[in-house]
């Protein structure tokens, strides 16, 4: 039997070709819907993450600005002078790594324990 003959047949009043087209149409519609729904969900998730990144970036910027203010040399110097009595380092306070050995004093050897009276020699 030829294919055209099969497709032209009627099953319970419906042409086979119509039934096949309907099945294909429904399968396509459902597939597209499933994919669209899935993609929409993914997009929502991505958007949610991007929104989180945006918020975090905003927060990071605020914190960076705050940190820069707190670490300002001007501010630190005033605080160091006011509360710790510190001042810029002078030449005598600088040391090269090579000169470290000169300033490290040898640790004195511990004194021997005094002998107890009447003890063992």
């Amino acid at each position: 039997m030829k294919l055209s003959g099969v497709l032209g047949q009627r099953v319970r009043g419906f042409r086979v070709v119509d039934l096949v087209a309907l099945v294909i149409f429904l399968a396509l519609a459902l597939t597209v819907y499933a994919f669209k729904t899935s993609a929409g969900r993914e997009r929502t998730d991505i958007s949610h993450v991007e929104s989180q990144i945006h918020d975090e970036t905003r927060q990071v910027k605020l914190l960076r600005a705050q940190l820069a203010h707190l670490e300002s040399p001007d501010r630190l110097e005033k605080l160091a002078t006011q509360y710790a009595g510190q001042a810029p380092v002078g030449a005598k306070q600088e040391l090269t790594p090579e000169a470290l050995a000169q300033v490290v004093r040898p640790i004195p050897a511990p004194a021997p324990p005094a002998a107890k009276p009447g003890g063992q020699p």
Binding site: V6, F14, T44, H48, G90, A91
Partner: protein, 581 residues
């Protein structure tokens, strides 16, 4: 089984029930069954379709109402006034965008406008009552105030005022307040750079998301500004400027101007404090110009450091009589003309060179034009119309020409970096990036001679107060009497521009980094500690020494201390212990 056979197979009862809808009415009439049964079948099929549509509808509704897009996520419009971060050469933040909010008010949504008015005025003091009244009387949603901080927004939001809404915008924050304010500059609320680096690199800052790194070192900037501010306040100056430059690369490491201002409140700052004296104000620089004069004379072969000059009597040139502040012998070698800062000797050298040579060299040093800089503030000098003998003599010791400190720093960098003139830059050079090519203006040997002369001047000349133990500092003092109502006022009522140009370490090879520190104090007042002397040697030179003493460790310049440093020079010993507890 063929397709035809499969389709011809009897259907299940449910299948028969569904497919039986076709001709259902005819069959119902034919079989005299109740029509209700057929209607029920139709209703059931419609219910299936209905359920399908409801499912689709719910999905669409969910996507429409609960998608993150509607909350301004990835598809939100970019903030129009966004600008990239500005950082120093080590990544320290100088300027940064922070979230700010604009407050809008919709009068239609207000039930009790008076209450909203009172609450807003109390919560945001910056709102003008008249403006708020106009908005409340209007008929559409209107911008009320911008640049609200997140805390302010949160506070207003918590008031739950009807009709009030917020829109995010970008605000520019300058976390260092007044530190480096002139150098960093500021931008408008629209995100357009208006001054300083914000204006100089506006296109790059607006185009890039990556931070824009400047050449400055915040540690050096902090030390320079601290010392300059301290001296300026102690000496009651009218203004002051300081610059630190790496002369090998042409990178500016610090620029400071006194008085300063808070860039976060640039709109309300006193305009006088916003002037960048380092780049904008032109001064008659005084004797620091002798660096240029001697470099010219030596390089052109007019004289050598050993050439003798007669300084026994004041020099009369045209209507002008040129004096020296100190008289130390009738004949001075050129080297001693420099270390004694002899105006007569410098003027004689200038006259020997002549106007053509002077014009050629001063043009080459960039003294007859605005300093080539990214800063739009870089001002043009005031130059004489013609180089008459009188003018040539005056220019030789820093009068008759007014230039910016930035122009002096640029020209002097050329003299002290081996003789190559290159524009100073505020952009950090990438690691391994070669400095700009530049153009040769003097021979390398002349540059070395000038370094030696400047070192000699600090060891035994007018610049001893700038010496710092072990750092091989060289320098030149400058004291220019200022014009008052068109006349130079001498004596105790004189108004001076005191300056000092320092270079360290003077003995480094030209391939190594070397740093220029320029200090200018405008109208320092006499103080008892300096016996009332307001010359550059007593006011600006110590500031330069203190700055160098503090920044050398940051710049990796090691002290080379020899015994004579500590034994021979009381000034050096004083500097050595100056900052110690």
């Amino acid at each position: 089984m063929s397709l035809a056979d499969a389709l011809a197979r009897p259907l299940s009862p449910v299948g028969r029930w569904i497919t039986g809808i076709e001709h259902a009415f005819e069959r119902a009439r034919h079989s005299d069954k109740a029509v209700n049964d057929t209607r029920l079948r139709i209703f059931f099929v419609l219910a299936l379709f209905g359920a399908g549509f409801v499912t689709l509808g719910l999905g669409a509704t969910r996507a429409a109402l609960f998608s993150a897009y509607s909350r301004g996520g990835a598809l939100a419009a970019p903030i129009p006034n966004a600008r990239a971060e500005l950082t120093d050469r080590n990544g320290q933040v100088l300027a940064i965008d922070v979230p700010r909010y604009a407050l809008y008010l919709d009068p239609h949504e207000l039930v009790h406008p008076a209450e909203v008015r009172a609450a807003l005025l109390a919560a945001v003091p910056g709102i003008a009552p008249a403006k708020l009244d106009r908005i409340l009387a209007g008929d559409h949603r209107t911008f009320v105030v911008g640049a609200l901080t997140p805390d302010q927004r949160s506070h207003i939001h918590d008031l739950a005022l009807p009709g009030v809404s917020f829109e995010e915008e970008s605000g520019r924050a300058y976390p260092l307040d007044d530190l480096a304010a002139h150098l960093i500059g500021f931008s408008s609320k629209d995100g357009i750079g208006l001054a300083g680096a914000e204006k100089a690199f506006d296109a790059e800052i607006r185009a890039d998301k990556a931070p824009v790194a400047l050449s400055i070192d915040l540690r050096v900037q902090g030390a320079l500004q601290d010392e300059l501010d301290a001296a300026s306040q102690a000496l009651g100056v009218a203004g002051a400027a300081g610059i630190v430059v790496n002369v090998r690369t042409g990178e500016i490491l610090a620029i400071s101007s006194f008085p300063s201002f808070d860039a976060n409140a640039a709109g309300t700052a006193d305009p006088a404090t916003m002037v960048n004296h380092a780049a904008t104000t032109v001064y008659e620089p005084g004797s620091v110009m002798k660096v240029f004069t001697l470099a010219m004379g030596i390089d052109a072969g007019v004289a050598t450091p050993d050439t003798m000059f007669d300084v026994s009597h004041p020099l009369v040139v045209g209507s002008q009589t040129i004096h020296d502040y100190d008289h130390d012998g009738d004949q001075l070698s050129l080297a001693h003309v420099f270390t004694h800062s002899s105006n007569i000797g410098a003027a004689r050298l200038g006259l020997l060179a002549g106007p053509e040579v002077m014009s050629r060299y001063y043009h080459a040093f960039g003294l007859f034009a605005a300093a080539p800089s990214e800063l739009a503030e870089s001002a043009r000098p005031l130059t004489p119309k013609a180089l008459t003998p009188n003018i040539v003599a005056s220019m030789s010791f820093g009068h008759a020409i007014s230039v910016t400190p930035l122009a002096i720093a640029t020209g002097m960098s050329a003299i002290l970096d081996g003789g190559v003139y290159r524009p100073l830059t505020l952009k950090k050079l990438a690691p391994g990036q070669a400095p700009a090519a530049g153009r040769r203006v003097i021979q390398e040997s002349t540059s070395r001679t000038m370094l030696d002369l400047m070192r000699m001047n600090v060891v035994e000349g007018t610049g001893t107060k700038a010496d710092v133990v072990g750092l091989r500092v060289g320098g030149k003092t400058g004291t220019a009497t200022k014009l008052v109502h068109g006349h130079y006022v001498e004596g105790r009522n004189a108004l001076n521009l005191a300056s000092f140009a320092a270079i360290f370490p003077t003995d480094a090879p030209f391939s190594a980094d070397r740093y220029l520190t320029l200090i200018m104090l405008d109208e320092p007042k006499p103080v008892a500690a300096d016996s009332g002397v307001t010359s550059g040697a007593f006011t600006a030179a110590p500031v330069a020494g203190k700055v160098i003493n503090r920044i050398a460790p940051f710049l990796g310049v090691r002290r080379v201390i020899i015994a004579s440093d500590l034994a021979a020079k009381p000034a050096a010993r004083a500097t050595l212990g100056a900052n110690e507890q």
